[in-house]
């Protein structure tokens, strides 16, 4: 009571009035660029001057200057191709747009180029031709337009230089000093924390200003957004909420998708329980085997990182690879799904992938759905089962 007695209304009023004034002043944004259409766009095209996409950001300063922040927190400046070099930043921070020649490390980066319709700008990749399922890239490599630059861990920089890229999209910041020496700007497209669902959907809007493809990015985002609305609507009234886990146990390590990753969010959005919702951090994060097994006890559905060629051909094959996981719920009585080889290269079909995951979680609201990106694993390999039945005979 004493505390309240010593507070006089006058003091509180003084404090609150000053606060409101200061808060209003701080919150007000007098920068006209935040409210006016971004320069350099067509008439009637309104774009936010500032757009944050997870850990990425775009700040449209003027028609001749856009500042972006990449996944590693590095600042880059986008200027028109013919504009003079700005004096207030290092040359390796400047990207001339629209970019016409790109080297990309990640499958999702390349899928995003396809979503923007600028796949013809791609001149270098870090995966050899036989590992590609995208026809345009296979054709580009056959024609010699797209070069295989070597594995991501051992890039052939001579080859990279020959391709004359104007931009490198990479997940590996360790190449930046060498790229600086070659005067090639780089954008780090991965982030220390896993991308949330919104960031995954909007990443296309981050890359759009590099190619002047903002309209295409907005259309792509709208398509994904519509598929999410559909998922919400379809799964709103489902009776059963399956328990889902996404990851795998390797020889020495257990890796899963954390709860803050887009798959964790999607599972929750589709009226299901994600077993690693409380795990926070980077995509493909390491957890203890005990935690994995504990969460697996009552799980219904397991998405493994492994494809068929990596051993995920059946539940029995997975159990043989990792005897530790043979008793988890999905292997005993539930369902296990493995990504098909082209899944990781299909980020430009994100709407279809989201819908497919939802159809896996709730087949009852997607009658007759045919899987395109995942395969449900049978209990045992058909050949092994055949041999076993032969042995019995």
């Amino acid at each position: 009571m004493r505390m309240f007695n010593i507070l006089r209304p006058g003091d509180c009023t003084l404090a609150l009035t000053a606060l409101i004034v200061l808060l209003t002043a701080a919150g007000c944004n007098n920068d006209p660029s935040t409210t006016s259409p971004a320069a350099g766009k067509g008439a009637g095209e309104e774009r936010p001057a500032f757009l944050q996409i997870g850990e990425f950001a775009i700040n449209r300063i003027s028609p001749a200057r856009t500042e972006v922040r990449d996944g590693a927190g590095r600042a880059l400046v986008l200027i028109p191709r013919e504009a003079p070099m700005p004096a207030d930043c290092a040359p390796n921070q400047v990207v001339r747009v629209p970019v016409q020649r790109v080297v990309a490390y990640g499958d999702f980066d390349i899928a995003t180029l396809r979503a923007l319709g600028v796949q013809e700008t791609l001149v270098g990749v870090t995966r050899s031709q036989e590992h590609w399922y995208v026809p345009e890239i296979k054709r580009g490599m056959e024609a010699g337009r797209i070069a295989y630059l070597g594995d991501a861990s051992s890039i052939d920089f001579e080859r990279l230089k020959q391709q004359q890229p104007e931009l490198v999209l990479t997940w590996d910041p360790s190449i930046i000093p060498l790229l600086d020496a070659l005067h090639i700007p780089a954008v780090v497209t991965t982030t220390p924390q896993a991308m949330c669902l919104t960031a995954r959907m909007r990443f296309v809007q981050f890359l759009a200003p590099f190619f002047h493809k903002e309209k295409e990015a907005d259309a792509f985002f709208a398509r994904i957004d519509a598929s999410l609305r559909d998922i919400r609507a379809r799964t709103a009234g489902v009776a059963h909420q399956p328990k889902v886990m996404w990851g795998d146990v390797y020889e020495k390590r257990v890796m899963v998708e954390p709860g803050n990753a887009w798959v964790g969010e999607l599972v929750g959005l589709a009226q299901s329980d994600y077993q690693f919702e409380d795990v926070f951090g980077t995509s493909c994060i390491e957890i203890t085997v005990e935690r994995f097994l504990y969460s697996g006890q009552d799980a219904d559905i397991f998405f493994t990182y492994r494809t068929g060629s990596m051993g995920a051909s059946s539940k029995a094959a997975l159990a043989k690879l990792n005897p530790l996981i043979k008793d988890i719920g999905p292997l005993q009585r539930g369902r296990v799904y493995a990504p098909l080889p082209h899944y990781s290269q299909s980020g430009d079909k994100l709407d279809e992938i989201l819908t497919e995951i939802s159809a896996i979680l709730h087949p009852e609201v997607y009658p007759g759905y045919q899987l395109h990106y995942f395969a449900e694993l049978p209990d045992s390999d058909p050949i092994a089962a055949k041999e076993a039945s032969h042995d019995r005979i």
Partner: protein
């Protein structure tokens, strides 16, 4: 005019205002806790882009999540003003009341007020840091590569990275993970060359800049093989001197206060 100023000064130096501000600060920080927890990515850039650009971009476009921070600034500004007014009034009283030959006693009586002034200087130092610090964010070094410091003739070269791996048995999941890292740097300018060791909590100072280790690779002997690199933030922070001065002032007040407390205790034995 004078009574208005005097009334305002009295209000500003009121202990009731201090209590009101402390309550509001507590409530605001509870709000801030949830916002920081849920929208961490919004606040990370504040460390390198400065307060004004951050307020114009991340801050003003996400007021529901960042409003608490602006409120915190306002509350801290008021608290600093309140502390200054309150402390100055009290110091003026003490100076007016001092008798002859009591310089030592006066110094001891001023101890808490010195701490209060120290707190204000520390807050001013932090504000200065957030307003005026220049940060170079695009600084990745691989062994052998170097970076040039802007506006200075200095160069920083990474000579070697010396990771220390966990080799204990108690935390099995930490086995072969990097638990400490030392980066050996060669710092060159027109006056010559010297080597320095950079680690996570040990920035290197060179030509008015401080180099901070932000990230590195590889972090483990297991798993995916990553190429060796360190990521740096290169900062020029004019606020450091101010908040170090504030901390020195606060420490001086604390020492005097402790001395006064010990003398007082001995006198009452």
């Amino acid at each position: 005019m004078k009574p208005v100023f005097a009334r305002l000064w009295n209000r500003l130096s009121s202990i009731n205002l201090t209590v009101a501000l402390c309550l509001l600060l507590t409530m605001d920080l509870v709000w801030g806790y949830f916002c920081l927890n849920r929208r961490t990515a919004l606040f990370t850039p504040l460390n390198d882009m400065g307060l004004i650009p951050w307020a114009q971009t991340y801050g003003s476009h996400n007021l529901m999540a960042t409003g608490w921070f602006f409120l915190l600034l306002a509350l801290l500004a008021l608290l600093a003003a309140n502390t200054f007014a309150c402390t100055t009034s009290r110091v003026a009283q003490l100076l007016r009341a001092k008798g002859p030959g009591s310089r030592q006693r006066l110094a001891l009586k001023l101890a808490p007020h010195i701490m209060h002034y120290g707190l204000i200087v520390i807050l001013a130092g932090y504000l200065c840091s957030y307003l005026f610090t220049q940060v170079l964010t695009s600084s990745t070094l691989a062994p052998g590569s170097h970076l040039s410091l802007p506006g200075a003739g200095g160069q920083v070269q990474l000579l070697a990275v010396e990771p220390e791996y966990y080799q204990g048995e108690r935390l099995a999941f930490w086995k072969n993970e990097v638990i400490a890292l030392k980066a050996r740097l060669l710092l060159s300018d027109e006056s010559g060359q010297r080597q320095a060791v950079l680690s996570c909590n040990r920035p290197v100072r060179f030509q008015g800049y401080s180099l901070h280790l932000i990230d590195f690779a590889p972090k483990s002997l297991n798993g995916m093989k990553m190429k060796t690199r360190i990521d740096l933030h290169v900062r020029k922070d004019p606020g450091v001197a101010l908040y170090l001065a504030g901390m020195a002032l606060f420490s001086l007040g604390l020492v005097l206060y402790l001395y006064q407390w010990i003398v007082h205790r001995e006198a009452h034995k």
